[in-house]
Amino acid sequence: MPTPYERTPGAVETGAAARRPPRRMHRPVEGRIIAGVCAGLAEHLGWSARMVRVGFVLLSLPGGAGLVAYLFLWALTPQSVGGAVERDDGRVPVDPARPEGPARPVDQAAAVVGGASDEEQRTAARTLLVGGGLLIVGLVVVAQNAGFNLRLGFLVPLLVIAVGAVIAWSQLDDAQRGRWLGTPDGPRRFSVARLAFGGFLALTGLVIVATRGRSLTAVWDIGLASLAVVAGIVLIAAPWGLRLWSDLRREQAERARATERADIAAHLHDSVLQTLALIQRRADDPAAVAQLARAQERELRSWLYAGPSGSDATLASAVAEVAHEVEDVHGTPIELVATGDRPLDDGGTALVRAVRESLLNAVRHGRPPVSVYVEIGPSGVEAFVRDHGEGFEVDDIPEDRLGVRQSILGRMERHGGSARVRRLEQGTEVSLALPPLPTNGAAAPAGSVPTHDTTPPAEASHATP
């Protein structure tokens, strides 16, 4: 539950440092005889450990007060971690702010979430509980001795009920649960056990209260009757409960759906509706409209169908990116098909650039449809860029035109791949090939531009010697 006091851990640190809290007593791991209580107390008070121990023994002899005190301190003093004391040992004059139950300010124990650390709070709560319990026990004993009849037979079960209820209800409070069960492993099981224990305590208390002073058979009869009543209630209430539960579930699902719908609406508004507005405004420019529509279509498509494999660092996605870029700049639709994928390396980057150059040629000099097919497999990478224009022969290109010769053919050869340009009956096709990844790149027959009449099987074997 967020409170105005809540601060970030960093703020807590600085706040704590500024206030410099009193040193806490710890039970040292080394030099202990039983549980380190005497050693810790001695260190805390600056007394001799031997003296403290003798004192405890002497106190225990007459009425056991020393023993009780020992157990009390044992339960409430944290063990020092790793042999070293948790807190810094600034020479703060030790105020015997003994963890004496009610002596500790209540707000420190419960309310100030931000001021105290988790450990401190836990100790404080424990102190409060145990101290309070001891106080009540003490009061009861004193009252009994003084002659008041406190009807213990009634009080004890009541107490048991209260404790059970507190334990069980503490599960309801999230913060409480976090504090009590914040252990990283198996908090759920522990929480269930606690709930069961609390419920058992409370039930036992109730039974004791209800059956006080009756014989065992009567208790048995009462128990059976109550069981029957409870079973009847459960039987009758079950359908209602189930109905309520399913209603709740449906409502939750509906809310989730509504959120999703709102998300989709927001996205459509940001993308599609904006683009539609733009298209209406530029209705007299068919090229711009087509380009806008195409870009929007692609954006929506990637939003709708994008899988988890959307990394930019792969070859297939890099090819897709340049295809989209060329499409955006020139407004010519490009049909992209890719199978397989692999990480982008130097050769892959060269291939992507060559694909880009081929696409630019295709949209400038060819005619649509322009298509790209990239096949990435264990035997290498092959890419095909095809248009449906007039077509051209590499040999016809003037020597000073560097586009095809340098950007496509030369680049692929430098990276151990190959490239060729074919003139089809209709259009031109640029084929690019890269050797497989793990074997070294020099294995491919660099510079071999296959002749025009090779069939694709031969072409595949060409790329993978």
Partner: protein
Amino acid sequence: MQPRDPRVEVVLVDDHRMFRSGVRAEIGDLVDIVGEAPNVDAAIEVITRTRPAVVLLDVHLPGGNGNGGVDVLYGCRGLETASGQPVRFLALSVSDAAEDVIAVIRAGARGYVTKTISANDLTSAIRRVADGDAVFSPRLAGFVLDAFGAAAGEIAEVDEELDRLSAREREVMRLIARGYQYKEVAKELFISVKTVETHVSSVLRKLQLSSRHELTAWAMGRRLL
């Protein structure tokens, strides 16, 4: 394509009226559009009544069991035209999602093309489907290569194997993925167009019958099995 005397009878199933009227305007002169339907139930009714040679079927449709075109395909199982040919389906979609494609193909569609296809290509695709051949878009071909592991070099030892493509089928699929028309594929591989069609139909059959785990997984995702 040899000229056909009676124009192919076509039913158009798409939930967008604008798209239906667009297709009608583009190919209405080349084929005979005998009916239209905007959803699954109307589609089954219209197709059962008119028994066309080809149904142009959108993958995503309202109505039915919520599976769109797949429901139409199941609802029209075993229908025949007046001349005794089965009613054939050509899927038409904007979706690139592999599970959409695989769902309609496995439910019995004879082909899959995207809505950006040109009118001429669409007409020839319809004729091809009417003749009992299969029609693959480049994207579907790429998907087939991927799903059958052909791109990774898996090749069937014998043609009858359902879980892998034969070497020839792989080449045909590769060329289709590269944007080649059937006759260009035929020329490239020095085979006849009819042979190309045979290969494509055989790939389609494998796509429909194979239990290759990728295909099965997608089909399971759509609760078809």
